[in-house]
């Protein structure tokens, strides 16, 4: 046997051998698709305001509509294709949040509505909710103390 690599040397060798993601391409795609989703949201928001809705109602209804669109596109097996192309561009907007809840719900429907859909629905969004809400509570406490 010749010289064998240590684990550290092998990791370094693998890093050199493994192609990296095409960062620039992915960033451009994410920007274009993410931007487009936001423009659609803005368009809906402006439309609702034109119809005479107030600021609060417009914001709530826009979110509801964007979530519905995300959920619908997930159900139609389209959102995963958008995601494969856009990466973070379609994960970060609220439509991506809808996708992260609807996709496990669809996937685990075969295990029933309680142990499948119910238990697994938040398997991806769950951590986001836990730490998002926790962070907002901490921010709220700091805000209260500094007031």
């Amino acid at each position: 046997m010749q010289k064998t690599l240590t684990k550290k040397e092998y990791q370094k060798y693998v890093d050199e051998k493994s192609p990296n993601s095409k960062v620039l391409r992915n960033v451009v795609r994410a920007f274009v698709v993410g931007g487009t989703i936001c423009i659609i949201g803005q368009f809906i928001s402006n439309l609702l305001k034109m119809k005479g809705l107030g600021q609060d109602e417009t914001a709530s209804l826009t979110s509801i509509l964007m979530i519905s669109i995300g959920a619908l596109l997930t159900g139609l097996n389209v959102y995963d294709d958008i995601g494969r192309f856009a990466g973070a561009g379609s994960i970060v907007p609220i439509t991506g949040f809808a996708n992260s809840i609807v996709s496990p719900a669809m996937e685990f429907k075969s295990e029933g509505y309680v142990m499948g859909v119910g238990a697994k629905m938040f398997v991806i969004a769950g951590p986001v909710l836990v730490y998002g809400i926790s962070a907002s509570v901490i921010a709220g406490i700091i805000h209260f103390l500094l007031r």
Partner: protein
């Protein structure tokens, strides 16, 4: 004293059993790949008429078993053992797919190395006169594997370029003490090798050292050289792992480049089919062997093959706990002639 052992990890079969038939069924994506003409059946619906992915994979296994019996001109009563396994927890596809087979059954788990593992055990059973006919069988399914190991199918994520695509398909072989080849002549059983790779999206790199270890050990134990083989084929190292395995093996003094290929690279057109580094899964090496390699052996286009299926022995729990990926590779030497 074990009389059939040579070297550290190899068995030389004294009455080399024959592979008398193979069969395979693949999914729609594999059916669009470069090997489509070699598969026995291509299903056009990934659910295969079932309600769940798990049932679909079990059905793949069951139908492949029926097909391979038919091609071997045998009935279930002629079969002494089935040795089968798959990727799903508790080997769900094999246990449920074969529960009505009425044949003594050994369930094995070697991750994606399962086909070579089952063929190794099967041919030793036949050579040792413990069985006349053994069926070796395995399967994987893209959708059930994604569900168990990764994310829901409809989740919009991007895969890194080193990621691989789990093959939907099942492959099986009948190993018999009567037949005119191709013969299984040597078996080199792999040991678990862990070089510390933790990236579950780079299984090829994790498995490559295990493949190298088994290939080099096979050469040292048997005295064979790369020139003795028409084809040395690893299971599912993909583009990254294949290159690493090739280089590591060369560093050990064996240049296999001329005869070396990887089932994960053979089964898909990577550019057109968006499969990144290539195919993976138990079904990858099983269908490429049962569909393509076996037929090329029968045609005499190739006469001696070293079939090295590779497996990453991780679990979802181990990777969440930050563990590296232990890997294994099993080699089966198949020849049209007995030397």
């Amino acid at each position: 004293m074990a009389t059939k052992r040579i070297g550290k990890q190899t068995v030389k079969l004294q009455n080399p059993p024959s592979i008398i038939a193979t069969a395979c069924i693949v999914g729609p994506k594999e059916g669009e790949g470069p090997l489509r003409l070699y598969f026995d059946e291509i299903i056009d619906d990934e659910l295969f008429g079932e309600k769940t992915w798990e049932k679909a994979e079990s059905k793949l296994m069951r139908e492949t078993f029926a097909k391979v019996l038919k091609k071997a001109n045998k009935t279930a009563e002629d079969i002494d053992y089935i040795i089968a396994g798959d990727l799903l927890n508790q080997c769900l596809a094999a246990n449920f797919g074969l529960r009505e087979s009425e044949v003594p059954f050994f369930g094995v788990y070697g991750a994606c190395s399962t086909m070579a593992e089952s063929m190794s055990i099967g041919s030793m059973l036949v050579d040792g006169n413990f069985a006349d006919n053994v069926v070796c069988l395995t399967s994987s399914h893209f959708c059930s594997a994604e569900k168990q190991f990764r994310f829901p199918l409809e989740l919009g994520t991007q895969r890194p370029p080193t990621a691989q695509w789990t093959v939907t398909g099942s492959g099986g072989a009948v190993i018999s003490n009567k037949g005119n080849g191709p013969y299984i002549t040597h078996i080199t059983t792999g040991k678990i090798v862990d070089m510390g790779i933790k990236d579950v999206n780079n299984m090829g790199a994790a498995m490559a050292p295990a493949a190298m270890d088994t290939i080099v050990t096979h050469f040292m134990d048997t005295g064979f050289t790369p020139e003795d083989y028409d084809l040395i084929v690893t299971g599912d190292l993909g583009a990254v792992g294949k290159e690493i395995c090739d280089e590591l093996t060369r560093e050990q003094g064996y240049n296999i480049s001329k005869v070396y290929n990887d089932c994960g690279l053979m089964i898909y057109d990577r550019q057109k089919q968006d499969t990144h580094a290539g195919g993976s899964g138990c079904g990858c090496s099983a269908t490429v062997f049962a569909g393509f390699i076996y037929k090329k052996l029968l045609e005499g286009v190739i006469n001696k093959v070293l079939f090295v299926a590779t497996g990453a022995l991780l679990s979802t729990t181990s990777s969440q706990q930050g563990e590296s990926i232990p890997c294994i590779a099993h080699a089966v030497s198949i020849s049209n002639t007995i030397s």
